[in-house]
């Protein structure tokens, strides 16, 4: 029997028998799309008319002179429709759902960005839509819950397990094993059983393809280092894929939470706390105990707070092709503050991890070197969390007043 979807020792498809036929169908439709040049053409057309592709690269002149090292550029995935790279994956999978003739989509979401993106796709393509979201994330990403519901999706808060992203994924699988005839599960990152890691990375490769072309056109050369935050790994895979064959250093930045020594983080590849395991249908590094039970994770960014990581990134780490680093909650807040003040862009808390690490390395690099930071999303969704972190008194007063109005 054939093992599918391996990247070195990682990946695979550890599926309950009931889902095998569904995955066979999905893999077939995906392979057809990949071999059909018209599909990618239609996809780019859709992304240029419905989302904001190609997204620009922005030269961050003020940050560059602030740090006095390498020149810093930002890839602006925040300018996508719904404000994050998640749209790339979702619209691509939406096209596959149409090809399969299914009428309903489900998705998990952590930060809510993937859920909102899925809800817009469902609205546009006319699919029914249910989004699973851990109760903890419903609480910290309330604005996105509001938007998903306004877009016509049903949002189901997940109260099992640690009530965050991994638990939402489990619940989505439970729905899928019941409803696979009508339903496609739009997995939001480059994880899960084959073909998801490869398929999601393929849709996200639009980021890297554009970035590479943009650098060649604008600078006539490629960046020397590329930084991307790593939750499940989809935005990182997307931007990195434009540079795999080049002499470009690739840096994945994970959530170091309250510090790598604190035990309260979500760093699978840059800490010693993770080990290889099999869960949620694939083999990769997981934050788990010696028995193989998944641990609680922590990050200020809901979208990075995940126990597993893309099997493709695990392989690239072992091969030494991608370097992994962590950024703490505190470093992230500082990087966010500085980026807003200096450049007037508002990165998502997830993306700010990539900024934080790039800021550490930029001053030590030569002035003729170039850094590219992938700004995977915009920070508007994080207004409550960021306001708390900044401890902003005016915002607090506003919330208190607003609450009073509702009580009146």
């Amino acid at each position: 029997m054939i093992k599918r979807g391996y990247y070195g020792n990682f990946g695979g498809a550890f599926l309950p028998e009931i889902l095998v036929a569904t995955f066979d169908e999905l893999e077939g439709v995906y392979n057809d799309a990949r071999n059909d040049p018209r599909f990618w053409h239609d996809y780019e057309l859709l992304m240029s008319s419905y989302s904001c592709r190609p997204t620009p690269i922005t030269y961050a002149q003020n940050l560059t002179s602030h740090f006095g090292g390498a020149r810093i550029f930002i890839k602006r995935e925040d300018l996508n429709h719904t404000g994050a790279h998640k749209a790339n994956n979702v619209m691509g999978q939406g096209l596959l759902v149409k090809r399969m003739g299914k009428t309903r989509v489900i998705a998990e979401t952590g930060a809510g960005q993937h859920g909102v993106a899925t809800a817009t796709m469902a609205a546009r393509f006319g699919f029914d839509c249910t989004i699973y979201m851990g109760e903890v994330d419903v609480e910290r990403q309330r604005p996105n819950v509001f938007w998903m519901e306004q877009l016509g999706a049903t949002v189901v808060p997940v109260t099992d397990g640690s009530r965050i992203l991994k638990d939402a994924i489990n619940e989505a699988f439970r729905d899928w094993v019941t409803n696979m005839d009508s339903t496609h599960y739009v997995l939001g990152t480059a994880c899960g059983p084959h073909p998801f890691p490869e398929m999601v990375s393929w849709f996200q490769s639009i980021i890297g393809k554009e970035a590479r072309r943009q650098f060649m056109e604008r600078e006539g050369r490629l960046p020397s280092r590329v930084f991307a935050c790593v939750g499940g790994g989809s935005n990182a895979m997307g931007v990195f894929s434009g540079f795999f064959d080049d002499d470009v250093e690739l840096v994945g930045v994970e959530a170091a939470g309250r510090g790598l020594d604190s035990g309260e983080h979500a760093s699978r590849l840059c800490s010693n706390d993770a080990s290889v395991g099999v869960a949620q249908g694939y083999k990769t590094y997981f934050l788990q105990d010696d028995d193989g039970q998944m641990k609680e994770t922590h990050s200020i960014a809901a979208g990075l707070d995940y126990v597993g990581v893309s099997p493709i990134l695990s392989d690239l780490k072992e091969k030494g092709r991608v370097r992994f680093e962590g950024a703490t909650d505190r470093e992230v807040i500082e990087a966010l503050r500085l980026t807003m003040k200096k450049e007037g862009v508002i990165p998502a808390l997830e993306s700010a991890h990539a900024f934080a690490r790039a800021f550490k390395e930029a001053p030590e690099m030569a002035a003729d070197e170039i850094i590219l930071i992938n700004q995977s999303g915009r920070g508007d969704k994080d207004i409550f969390t960021i306001a708390d972190a900044f401890d902003d008194p005016k915002w607090k007063r506003f919330i208190v007043e607003k609450a009073k109005q509702y009580h009146a």
């Binding site: 054939i2 028998e17 009931i18 439970r174 094993v177 395991g277 788990q288 028995d291």
Partner: protein
């Protein structure tokens, strides 16, 4: 050997009953009490689930039991020890049911060695399809343990045949789409499906997912060799206590 045992039991009764517990739910002591009661009530074989934090194939009842057992601090070591004690104490075959990560982290070879040493007969690992099972199959066959594989209503004939080649002991046929614990309608469709399963393998067939009372088991008699009751016994224990669960099982097995 598991299949031999099943065949000899089938010479005496038309359909066997397999039940399921989650080790450590609600506590290890009560789990032991549940096993004792089930065996005394006439259960023919049992699945002992080693709890896992991400049980994606399980519905709300068993999911909650997994979480509660883990919250109580139950470890894999304690579960292996529990298996050893029940296998020594009670005269029926016991199987482990768990997710692959538990075996993988313990070491697949070591897990199989421990099973043999403890006197377990086989294992059901719902997230381990044959494609990914090479190490597991080696370890199980070396120790003459039965790897129980699964058929589903969506499994093609060709795939059923492939699975039959690596399966041993019996084949676990899931009755329908979905997770454990939901309703199943026992209709002609199930009969047809079991007919397809029967053609694909010479091994005995167990049918599970949604089996909840004597009516369901009567329906399966003559179509399957083993009826599996999982979530329902947990519900009876939770709502009416262990004594009532014993009576429930006696009623299901009785004439």
């Amino acid at each position: 050997m598991l299949e031999t045992y099943i065949r000899s039991r089938l010479a005496e009764k038309k359909i066997l009953l397999m039940t399921h517990i989650v080790i450590g739910y609600p506590t290890l002591e009560i789990s032991m009490e549940i096993v004792r009661t089930m065996v005394a009530a006439g259960v023919d074989l049992m699945e002992l689930q080693i709890p896992f934090s991400e049980p994606i194939a399980d519905g709300p009842v068993i999911l909650k039991a997994n979480q509660q057992a883990l919250a109580n601090g139950v470890t894999v070591g304690q579960c292996l020890d529990f298996g050893r004690r029940v296998a020594r104490q009670f005269p029926i075959p016991f199987l482990y049911m768990t997710y692959y990560n538990i075996l993988f982290k313990h070491g697949v070879d070591r897990f199989a060695d421990d099973m043999l040493e403890a006197g377990l007969q086989g294992a059901i690992v719902p997230d381990l399809p044959p494609e990914e099972a090479a190490d597991y199959l080696d370890a199980m066959s070396r120790n003459e343990l039965s790897p129980i594989f699964i058929y589903s209503p969506t499994t093609s004939e060709a795939r059923m045949n492939t699975i039959a080649r690596v399966a041993d002991g019996f084949v676990y046929c899931v009755a329908r789409k979905g997770v454990t614990g939901d309703q199943t309608e026992f209709s002609r469709q199930i009969g047809d499906y079991l007919g397809r399963c029967r053609e694909a393998t010479h091994l005995p067939l167990a049918l599970g997912f949604g089996v909840k009372d004597k009516t369901d088991v009567d329906f399966l008699t003559g179509k399957a060799d083993i009826a599996v009751i999982g979530s329902q016994t947990l519900r009876v224990v939770e709502n009416q206590g262990i004594g009532a669960m014993g009576q429930f099982i006696r009623q299901v097995v009785g004439g």
